[in-house]
Every structure is written in structure tokens, then in C-alpha cells.
């Protein structure tokens, strides 16, 4: 499996192919459509993330030391963004998730151009993923 850094570089490369922000959006939409469907039993209120104009469900599972994320959103662009985050962060160890610097977000212009700061969806998603990592990290250390 590629490292978090490698995957981020890979994603940055993919986005660099598009000059036009419209094409970048189109790509995000594609990614959103392709995101593996979340189990409907996880599309529950407890998994909702605050701070988005669109609704985002994020579910985490911890197996053999790794965290697996599945997610969904009623906004397809948001879903595309989540798809990227899942690709980078899912299947990793809690420590990795906690310590990683998500440089790809700035590099592909996600923060400035693709996602609005205030609706805060992106930041809330990342925060929530890190919170899961923190929780499982504590659990792993405790046990």
C-alpha cells in the first residue's frame, strides 16, 4: 500500500492535469459518483457531521490496528471531496492519521477554490476523522 505522502502526491498529479477549475469540479463529481456506497445502517444521525450546508455521514471502523472510513453526502461535490479524504486516510493506523500533514488540500486548490471556508465542511470532515483516530489511538494504548 502506498504511503499517505505518496497518495497525496498522486492526487496532486491528477488534479494538475486540469487547467480549468470546471474540469477539476467535473473530476470531483466523478470521484463522488464512484465513492463506495456506505452501508445504510450507518447513515444515521450519530454519524452526521456538523457545519456543512450539505449533510455528510462519516462512519469509522477499527480492525487489526487500522481505521476504515466509509462516508456519504447528499451533495455530490462534497462526496468527491470525501472520496479524496477517504482515499488518503482510510486503512491507516491511528497515529498516521493523527500526524499527517494534508498538503494535497492546498496543492490541488481545494481550500481556496473548491470548497468554501465558512460552510466549513472540509475542516469539519478532517476534524472528525482525526477525532476518530484519537479515540482509537487511546483505545489501542489502553488495551
Amino acid at each position: 500500500m502506498k504511503s499517505i505522502i505518496e497518495i497525496q502526491q498522486e492526487i496532486s498529479g491528477e488534479f494538475e492535469m486540469y487547467d480549468d477549475w470546471m474540469d477539476k469540479y467535473n473530476y470531483l463529481i466523478e470521484l463522488g459518483k464512484d465513492l463506495a456506497v456506505i452501508d445504510t445502517k450507518h447513515k444515521v444521525k450519530e454519524n452526521l457531521i456538523n457545519g456543512c450546508q450539505s449533510r455528510v455521514w462519516l462512519h469509522a471502523e477499527y480492525e487489526e490496528g487500522l481505521i476504515h472510513f466509509t462516508a456519504d453526502s447528499d451533495s455530490i461535490i462534497t462526496k468527491g471531496i470525501i472520496a479524496l479524504l477517504v482515499r488518503v486516510l482510510s486503512g491507516r493506523k491511528p497515529e498516521e492519521i493523527l500526524n499527517t500533514d494534508l498538503f494535497f488540500i492546498d496543492r490541488i486548490g481545494l481550500r481556496q477554490n473548491l470548497s468554501p471556508t465558512r460552510s466549513n465542511g472540509l475542516l469539519s470532515m478532517i476534524r472528525q476523522m482525526k477525532l476518530y483516530a484519537l479515540a482509537y489511538h487511546a483505545k489501542a494504548k489502553g488495551s
Binding site: W21, M22, Y25, N26, I29, Q53, S54, R55, D74, S75, I76, I77, T78, P116, S119
Partner: protein, 393 residues
């Protein structure tokens, strides 16, 4: 004739329901005041203080004339519509509301005309009743009679809906209310900038609006109250110049409107607002209305032709607002792409969650018009919507 000035940028600004862009004279008036005239008002006796006070009181008169109030003392400056409603709810509540009393609002109100009454009802043990609207976005005015009873103390309704654009039959509501001796508050936040208001003709008891939505500055708003109420209602804030005599034993208040304007008022905001009202008056509200209505009709017609567009608010009496969703596309996705094409629209609940609940949706896309918008901008919007459709299906 509308002066088609460019307010800074070639952006297509269709978020006038949220806030309006400021005409140059307003911007310059504020700057000029800051640069050459600034001084605190009331009781200061030096030259600048005098002059600032005079300009502030003239601003009050400009507002009075704009809404055709009988006296300038009926104009209270607040920091916005929300403060006006909250202030009145507090003050009216303290004076007139007992447990079991009822207040009527409508189902289409903005949160600012819902929550203050809920807070009041919770505090006083009174009851909030709601006049519903039908799926076309029209108030079911026939049901008002059934809601009114001898415990009804106040009716508070919006003049124009910020989500549906509906122009509500406030005259009828006021008449019915007054037949039963019930005062009426009109939330004119979305109407003063579009339709000429005459509070004496309407005979409403209270009327509120915000400066920033009528081409004026932020942080300034108006609470109009018929004089007879001003003496009965207690002040909603204390401090500064609103007092007559202050001792620790007993404090007496001064005359309205100052009684209701505790602390240093936003006098620069008031003066900026007056400048905006003058601008609107000199442009001509009837011309503005005609222009906006033509745009609205055109936009409505264009969007109706697109079978994937669902429009909310089908009232024939409608103003300046196009609220819609695109089939199978989340408003948030659509909004992001429309923004990227340089068009500012607003998405979400527009602070009117009950309206969304009525339609079982979580939000809409809203384009709201101002006096400076053009037919080309509507075309741009329609083009953008088609493009969005292409991207997502």
C-alpha cells in the same frame, strides 16, 4: 430610469435579499462624515457635536418621510431588523403579555420574527400561533379568523417573504386585527427597498427594517412605532442618554424616541441609511419596482421553461425573489458551480427553516434582485443553471 452604475465590480450580484450593494453617494457620505464631521451626538454642546446631532435627527426625519410616519419621534434607530423585533418583543412582552396570552405569526416568517416570540412565550407562558401558507406560498388568510380570539395580543407578519417572494395581504391582516383591537407588527425587511410604504395608510402599529438591505450600512435598523405605544412601552435597554434622572434609588426615563436608544447610537449608520433612502427616493421607488418586476417576470418565465427547475412561491403578488431547486442536484452543488461562474446567489434555508419544512426540503437556491440588476444578468443565471444541469447528469 435606473442609473446603471457599476458598484465596484462586474460580478453578477443576485443576493440582494441577504444584503445590498451600496451606491457611491452612500459610501462617500460615510467617508465624508468620518473624515470631516465625526463627533458624538446629544448634549455635547461643541460645534461638531451639534452638527452631528443635527444630521442624526435629520436622518430620523428622512426615515420618517420615507415610510410616511406621522412624527419623527416614532422612528427608533436600532442595529437591524432582528434587534427591532427583539426589542419590541421584550418591551411589549413586559408590558402586555400574561400567561395564556397569544401571539400570531405566519408559517413563512424569517427566524428573526419567530425566535424572539418563542423566547417571549417561554418566558411568559404565552402561546405562539401560526398562520399557515399553501403550497403556492400564499398565506391562508381565511384561517386568520379562527386563530384570533380574546387572548390574542399581537400579530406579527412579514410584508414580503425572503424565501418565496410572496407579497402578503398585510392591509387585510391589519384590518382584521384592528377590528379585534389587536396591534400588528410588520416585518418590512424585504419590502421597504421594493415597494413604497405608508405606515399611516397601512395603519400598522409597528414596522421594522434593516439599513443594509436597502442600500445602506450594516449595524443600523429601524423600529417604527405609532406614538400611542411609545409612552406605554418600557425601554428595552438602559444607559447613556435615555435617562432623565439617575439615582441609585430611582431612575426616570426621558421622552421617546431617545428613551429607546440607550448608549451611543450608530449615528454614522443612521446618517448613511438616510443617504441611501434619499438615493432610493431620487431614483424613484416606482421605477425600481417596475424594473425589478420586469426582471422577476422574465426570470420566472425563463426558469419555468426548464423542466428540471422547481420554483417555490407561485403567488401572483410576488416580488424580487426566485427560489428554486434543480431536480436530482443538491442546491449546495448547484450553488458552488453557479458561484464559480461569477454569479452570487444564496443557498440553504434562508433563515426560514419552517418554509423548508413545509416543502419537505432542506434548502433552495435563491436569486434575489436589486435595483441595479439587469436582464443580461438573468440570462447569465439561466445559462449557469443549464450548465450546472449538464455537469451533473
Amino acid at each position: 430610469m435606473l442609473k446603471q452604475e457599476v458598484y465596484g465590480r462586474p460580478l453578477v450580484y443576485l443576493d440582494n435579499g441577504a444584503t445590498t450593494q451600496k451606491p457611491l453617494p452612500v459610501i462617500e457620505c460615510i467617508r465624508n462624515f468620518h473624515s470631516f464631521k465625526n463627533s458624538s451626538i446629544h448634549r455635547g454642546i461643541h460645534f461638531y457635536s451639534e452638527r452631528a446631532t443635527e444630521e442624526f435627527e435629520n436622518a430620523r426625519k428622512t426615515v420618517q418621510q420615507f415610510i410616511h410616519a406621522e412624527k419623527s419621534s416614532e422612528i427608533i434607530f436600532t442595529s437591524g431588523t432582528t434587534s427591532s423585533v427583539n426589542g419590541l418583543a421584550w418591551s411589549f412582552g413586559e408590558r402586555f403579555i400574561r400567561p395564556g396570552d397569544e401571539i400570531i405569526i405566519s408559517e413563512m416568517e424569517h427566524h428573526s420574527n419567530i425566535v424572539p416570540w418563542q423566547m417571549l412565550c417561554e418566558r411568559k407562558g404565552s402561546v405562539l400561533k401560526v398562520l399557515p401558507f399553501n403550497d403556492d406560498g400564499i398565506l391562508e388568510i381565511d384561517r386568520l379568523d379562527a386563530l384570533i380570539n380574546n387572548r390574542t395580543r399581537l400579530i406579527s407578519v412579514m410584508h414580503i417573504s425572503n424565501t418565496l417572494g410572496t407579497i402578503n395581504p398585510i392591509r387585510t391582516i391589519i384590518e382584521k386585527a384592528h377590528e379585534n383591537d389587536i396591534p400588528v407588527l410588520i416585518d418590512a425587511a424585504q419590502s421597504v427597498q421594493h415597494i413604497a410604504i405608508d405606515v399611516q395608510q397601512l395603519d400598522c402599529d409597528f414596522l421594522v427594517f434593516s439599513g443594509h438591505k436597502i442600500y445602506g450600512p450594516t449595524g443600523i435598523g429601524v423600529l417604527y412605532a405609532k406614538e400611542k405605544w411609545l409612552h406605554e412601552l418600557p425601554p428595552f435597554q438602559g444607559g447613556g442618554e435615555m435617562v432623565d434622572v439617575v439615582t441609585f434609588q430611582k431612575t426616570t426615563y426621558t421622552e421617546p424616541p431617545v428613551k429607546f436608544e440607550a448608549g451611543t447610537p450608530n449615528y454614522i449608520g443612521a446618517i448613511g441609511l438616510a443617504e441611501a433612502l434619499k438615493y432610493v427616493t431620487s431614483t424613484g421607488l416606482s421605477g425600481i419596482l417596475q424594473h425589478e418586476n420586469a426582471l422577476l417576470d422574465y426570470g420566472f418565465q425563463q426558469l419555468s421553461q426548464l423542466d428540471f427547475v422547481k420554483l417555490y412561491g407561485q403567488a401572483s403578488d410576488k416580488s424580487s425573489i426566485l427560489s428554486f431547486n434543480l431536480r436530482d442536484i443538491h442546491y449546495y452543488d448547484a450553488g458552488m458551480i453557479i458561484d464559480k461562474m461569477g454569479i452570487a446567489v444564496r443557498t440553504g434555508t434562508h433563515c426560514a427553516q419552517p418554509v423548508m419544512q413545509h416543502y419537505g426540503i432542506s434548502g433552495t437556491i435563491r436569486a434575489s434582485l436589486g435595483m441595479y440588476n439587469t436582464k443580461e444578468e438573468i440570462d447569465n443565471l439561466v445559462g449557469a443553471i443549464k450548465k450546472v444541469r449538464d455537469m451533473f447528469v
